[in-house]
């Protein structure tokens, strides 16, 4: 009887493992081609494995880079408050990211209003002190085109040391401590369209 249960349990584990593998494959969708320019579809979905002109990095690579004080650029979304949300219930969004990251929510959107795109480039120029070779790590959440797009913008603009961290804030918090970050003041102060 025990042996039978054990065998059944083993079979179940094997089956579950196989299913999980299948799901994982379906989820990452294998090969997503790099678009020519910016991705103008939905921001949430499988992203390419590559970003031409940039280096795709994992957590270890970011940590190795930390000595060079890279610009950590988080373009993750801001929480959207539901319309008519009751005023007597707390609405207190918090954004956790890689410590010392600069957070510019929406900077990976495409198309982006011309004024905001200009502001994005200006902020990056200020934050890198005009050094096009300064390492920049751009990220969002997993399966987030905003991170890819923001990286693409930087590469196109001539930044030569762009790193894209597709695992994003989720990948970071899995292994390391996060810190609360506020949106970049200049970025958020500008009117959105």
């Amino acid at each position: 009887m025990c042996a039978l249960i054990e065998r059944a349990a083993k079979a179940a584990i094997i089956l579950t493992t196989a299913l999980l593998a299948a799901v994982a494959n379906a989820g990452s969708a294998g090969d997503v081609a790099e678009p020519q320019g910016l991705w103008i579809g939905g921001m949430h979905g499988p992203t390419p494995k590559m970003l031409s002109g940039a280096v795709v990095v994992d957590l270890a690579a970011i940590e190795a880079l930390m000595a060079e004080k890279p610009l950590l650029l988080d373009v993750g979304p801001v929480a959207r408050k539901p319309e008519n949300f009751p005023s007597d219930r707390p609405w207190q969004p918090i954004h956790r990211s890689i410590p010392n990251a600069i957070w510019m929510p929406g900077a990976g959107a495409a198309p982006l209003d011309a004024g905001r795109e200009e502001l994005f480039y200006r902020r990056i120029e200020e934050l890198t002190q005009g050094d096009k070779a300064k390492p920049i790590v751009v990220f969002c959440r997993p399966d987030c085109w905003a991170g890819w797009n923001a990286g693409k913008r930087l590469v196109t603009k001539g930044y030569t040391s762009v790193r894209w961290f597709p695992a994003g804030t989720d990948g970071w918090q899995d292994e390391r401590e996060t810190a609360e970050v506020k949106p970049d003041a200049e970025w958020i102060a500008a009117p959105t369209k």
Partner: protein, 284 residues
């Protein structure tokens, strides 16, 4: 999570911790340890976050840490952050008037407030919630005399607030308001019965993107739920966008009289649904 907690008896607590000091004490008192479930560098930041939230929800009422009045069980690492199961256990159930579930780092942190009525058996509750990012989750029990007792766990779950509900909004809203009731644990007359309520509802939170149109689906979520047996209240639930799609709630009650079990649900778009359930014959 087994972290050190201190527990004063009621008399002593009243003497040494005047209510006026209120929530301010949470940061400095032994509660500090409890309220920052992860002990690493961000512990202080998370404790500060909880202090702010506690002030929003409970004003200056003091929350005493407890291991005995309320327990919170959730997977340390949730498989699906859009429907993380949470179990609340209140062993001294006769003392409990209401319970709060707070998911600290969700944009709308107060996930649920259950207020028990005379037909309730407030020993346990189960529900499924959305979790946006790795976070502390607090459960706070309010006793009949208005005191608050809290406990906390840290959960690793992420992305539950933006996960799409279904391939299309039409699919997600099909059958909205339909309910099912499963009686999972019966007993003799006058004894508690456990039941699981399932409600078909997308509980759109406004952060989910329509996969076809790429627009955000407008929010529409269950804000009130009331369950009674006959004319006697089991519980009222106030909730919002942190409840999962197709909410599932397990609760216990003591059937007295002939029922039926009555559920009334309303949502943020003025939807209202009501359904009665008869107990299976074998349980009466």
């Amino acid at each position: 999570m087994g972290v050190g907690r201190s527990y004063y008896d009621k008399e002593e607590r009243v003497k040494i911790l005047p209510l006026a000091l209120g929530v301010a004490l949470i940061g400095a008192s032994p509660a500090h340890k409890v309220l920052a479930a992860d002990s690493d560098a961000t512990g202080d930041e998370r404790a500060a976050r909880w202090k702010t939230l506690a002030e929003s929800v409970f004003g200056d009422r003091k929350i005493e840490p407890t291991e005995t009045l309320i327990k919170l069980d959730a997977p340390q690492r949730a498989q699906d952050a859009a429907l993380m199961p949470v179990t609340l256990t209140m062993p001294q159930k006769h003392k409990i008037k209401s319970v709060y579930l707070v998911i600290d780092d969700n944009p709308s942190p107060l996930a649920a407030h259950f207020t028990f009525g005379p037909a309730a058996d407030p020993g346990s509750l189960q529900l499924r919630v959305r979790v946006d990012t790795y976070t502390n989750v607090h459960a706070v029990a309010e006793t009949g005399d208005g005191e608050l007792f809290g406990t906390v766990v840290f959960v690793k779950a992420s992305g539950g607030c933006s996960a799409p509900v279904a391939a299309t909004d039409e699919e997600a809203t099909k059958g909205m308001g339909e309910m099912r009731m499963k009686f999972t644990d019966g007993a003799a007359a006058g004894k508690a019965v456990q039941a699981t309520l399932m409600i078909r509802h997308p509980n759109f939170n406004g952060m989910q993107m329509n996969q076809l149109t790429r627009n955000y689906t407008p929010p529409r979520y269950i804000d009130k739920l009331s369950v009674s047996y006959g004319d006697s209240k089991i519980f009222d639930l106030e909730a919002d966008i942190s409840l999962s799609t197709d909410p599932v709630i397990t609760f216990s009650f003591v059937p007295d009289g002939k029922g039926p079990l009555k559920v009334v649900v309303s949502d943020s778009m003025n939807g209202r649904w009501q359904q009665n359930f008869d107990m299976p014959e074998t349980m009466n």
